[in-house]
Symmetry: C2
Amino acid sequence: MTNHADLDPYIAVHHYGLGDLLHEQARSRPHMIAAIDGEHRFTYAQFDERVNRLAGVLRARGVGHGDRVLWLGQNSMRVMEALLASARVGAIFCPANWRASVPEIAAMLDDFDPKVTFWQHEEIGAGNREARGGWKPDSHWICHDGCDGEDSYEALLAAADPESEFAPVDTGTPLLAIYTAAFSGRPGAALLSHESLLIMAWLALQSQKIDEHSGYLVSGPMFHIGVLMGTLGTFLAGGRNAFVPRVEAENLLRMIEAERLTHAFVPQPTVVQMREVNKDGAYDVTSLFADNQMSDWKIPMVMPVDAPAIQKMGGYGQTEIGGLTSVLWMGGQGAGRAVPFVAFKIGDEDGNEVPRGQTGEIFARGPIVMCGYWNRPEENARRVVNGWHRTNDLGKRLEDGSLVFVGPKTTMIKTGIENVYPAEVEACLRQHPAVADVCVIGVPDPKWDQNVKAVVIARDGVAVDATALIDHCRDRMASYKKPKIIDFVATLPRNAHGFVDRAAVDAAFGGGGYPSVG
Amino acid sequence: MTNHADLDPYIAVHHYGLGDLLHEQARSRPHMIAAIDGEHRFTYAQFDERVNRLAGVLRARGVGHGDRVLWLGQNSMRVMEALLASARVGAIFCPANWRASVPEIAAMLDDFDPKVTFWQHEEIGAGNREARGGWKPDSHWICHDGCDGEDSYEALLAAADPESEFAPVDTGTPLLAIYTAAFSGRPGAALLSHESLLIMAWLALQSQKIDEHSGYLVSGPMFHIGVLMGTLGTFLAGGRNAFVPRVEAENLLRMIEAERLTHAFVPQPTVVQMREVNKDGAYDVTSLFADNQMSDWKIPMVMPVDAPAIQKMGGYGQTEIGGLTSVLWMGGQGAGRAVPFVAFKIGDEDGNEVPRGQTGEIFARGPIVMCGYWNRPEENARRVVNGWHRTNDLGKRLEDGSLVFVGPKTTMIKTGIENVYPAEVEACLRQHPAVADVCVIGVPDPKWDQNVKAVVIARDGVAVDATALIDHCRDRMASYKKPKIIDFVATLPRNAHGFVDRAAVDAAFGGGGYPSVG
């Protein structure tokens, strides 16, 4: 911190983690409701005591600084308790995807190596038991929803010491692990620090207009950064988090009405179901929506219509940089401008800044950025360049300095010594009036390593040929980036989310020979 | 940060200081105006280059991590430049009170021991020269406003290298030094870190509703934490800071009209002058006030009427904890509740928490709290108790957890082994309908060290005697706290700000024998 020894006493004063925030809420809002889950309604003072007891349970099992705690279960107020108890003892907490298959859970156990695993008996117990059976026997397993005769959550809590003193945790300590999209064939767990989560919480509080009277319906999965932001923002504001184990239209309607909830995460298919169930207006959900038919609903994140994040929607982010951290509500156009505590740089492969207007990789720095991936030393070393985190995403600055997200860098094409990013070429081709959709791939070439090839769906009734599209690109970008080959097709293969499936396009149209980008 | 060496590359990514914020503003808002001062109007890109050059000037004079830089001058955009240049090189910057006397400046030089001092030639040059003459000759002095033939600010900037690479600075590094009220007979400089200033900036941005289109009139002194918050909040939002060297009604009116300023710090006497000058409405100041007569003006901090800090005004704070950090706009009553990144505890002399409702000392922790006082090792050791900063202020929690500020602890009375705080006894006496005002002092006593004495102004027409007031206190607080002696008076001696002058009350009514509280 400083080279002046006489300031040393103050280093400890600055340690402030999510555990300290919970203590503060228990002191400053002792009687306000912190968590609602089924029949449970706990005030901040009660919630604080439960978390202290759970932290004691973890500590008694040897969980300390840097140890891992895994959650294999659906949403529950106990996810939040386990996160905060991990915070108290300095451990790293991972809420796993509860839809994971047995082999996926097994891989996660091997990778994350948790000292304590919270697991769920109902609905997903069979898979949890099978994965547990195949794993090493010396880890502690705690069943969070019953399971008489085993270590059961509520029994352990009741027996635990409500001791509230824990060693302070540096704000930079990793706390939350979220497994994200594969960067090298297998998912990696991005580690977010106490500080990162506190900044994310503050961003949610401000941008979603959350205050101590707000109630958040935690109906999305808590391993999703968007849901976590809302939950943590509500926790920071001193509001109520209402947990439901899974998305079920009638249950959500009942919860919204009973608790007069003001914020939520509700995916579109669920809203359609809710409209159907509530077509006679049996439930009053006007605390959350404009009317009982949810007519004003647009996106999964539901919040007051005058909230900054709704007024000026859009931005750029990834889990690794704490979610959406360049946003339109801070100004500008495109993906807007940086939120507090983060800086962006558009750089080349070596991290050198490129001129404004030029596409390059997005680099980020600041305390909101992750602490690295768990158990991935080589990837961590590769992803930091001169003090900046490499996002593996492409972007540029507009003339006014706004950030623009161009696309993922993952499928880089190598042609001669040049790097070509499909997303950039696709963005250029999409500007042509004849192009309805496009996927750009690299095809192996003995001389150039790869050639750039565009697989194009032409717009109905617009005449175009390959030369016209190639010329279009040549006029707008460096010549080596333009496609050499263009195939016209009627459809492109897509994945379950509706996105073009690049691997399938490669397989069908001769793609291959990509350089390794880690 | 962590005990996992494979996360080490990411430690550098989290270093983020005010210098990084300036770089980000130059990238994301290159053409927007950052600073206005007289004829000068600099964009963020230009401001960034000027700061880089100034940082180069500091570096060339050997200023590095932990070294001190002093500002002896009035307000200027150059104060902000010197702050940010100090941030780049990891130094500590102090904007001194420009009304300080020569002996006060001399004491500050001895205490702060700056490696570089920026000084002002116009208006206050004589005092600066005299203080300089008496000080050691080997320090660098830079005249910021002219002074041909000396090291002059603009000449040095023009000649400097616009190099933009500086070693990253940990967010916990002290950056700003502000001399605050004496705690032990002489003023001490509270050191605020980069992180503390960034949090303060964010608090201002949110609570004063500052965005990138805002313009802040920096018309209060920059060594005042309230002015700094507005200036830094505007800088964080990417808005315009408009600097004026001193408060002059016509100049302020002109600046507000010309720049359509939206936020300001304007003391009441200045508003009275502005009303007089603008009685014919010559200047349009409606960007800032409801009308050209400033009819809606109430407090020195001027901001949009729908800003949270105006809608719910009030709170508790001190420079040492980053200004107002318990605020009504976060909820509650009294002094409200904690802002993000701070926790409060009401404790006894040893820092043990006292029950809700009981008066004790306010303790604070979190990264917004200062890093200690410069050059005060004993005071720093005394002010940290078990990881908490001792505010020297008294407070309590209401039943709903809200914080209440009771009063300063500085004039503690010692009676037997008990500590009695005048502010607490005064608060109790003020609840009595017969008490219009009161000052509680300690009078020497051979047996008890001191006795508690109340000097009371009785409310007109309400009959009361000493016994009734003593009984009133006995019913409401520990018996040792009640006054033993009560003097009824017509007036109490007051200082220039209208506050009761405790030293004068002591002198007039036999006070003395106070224990040392450091």
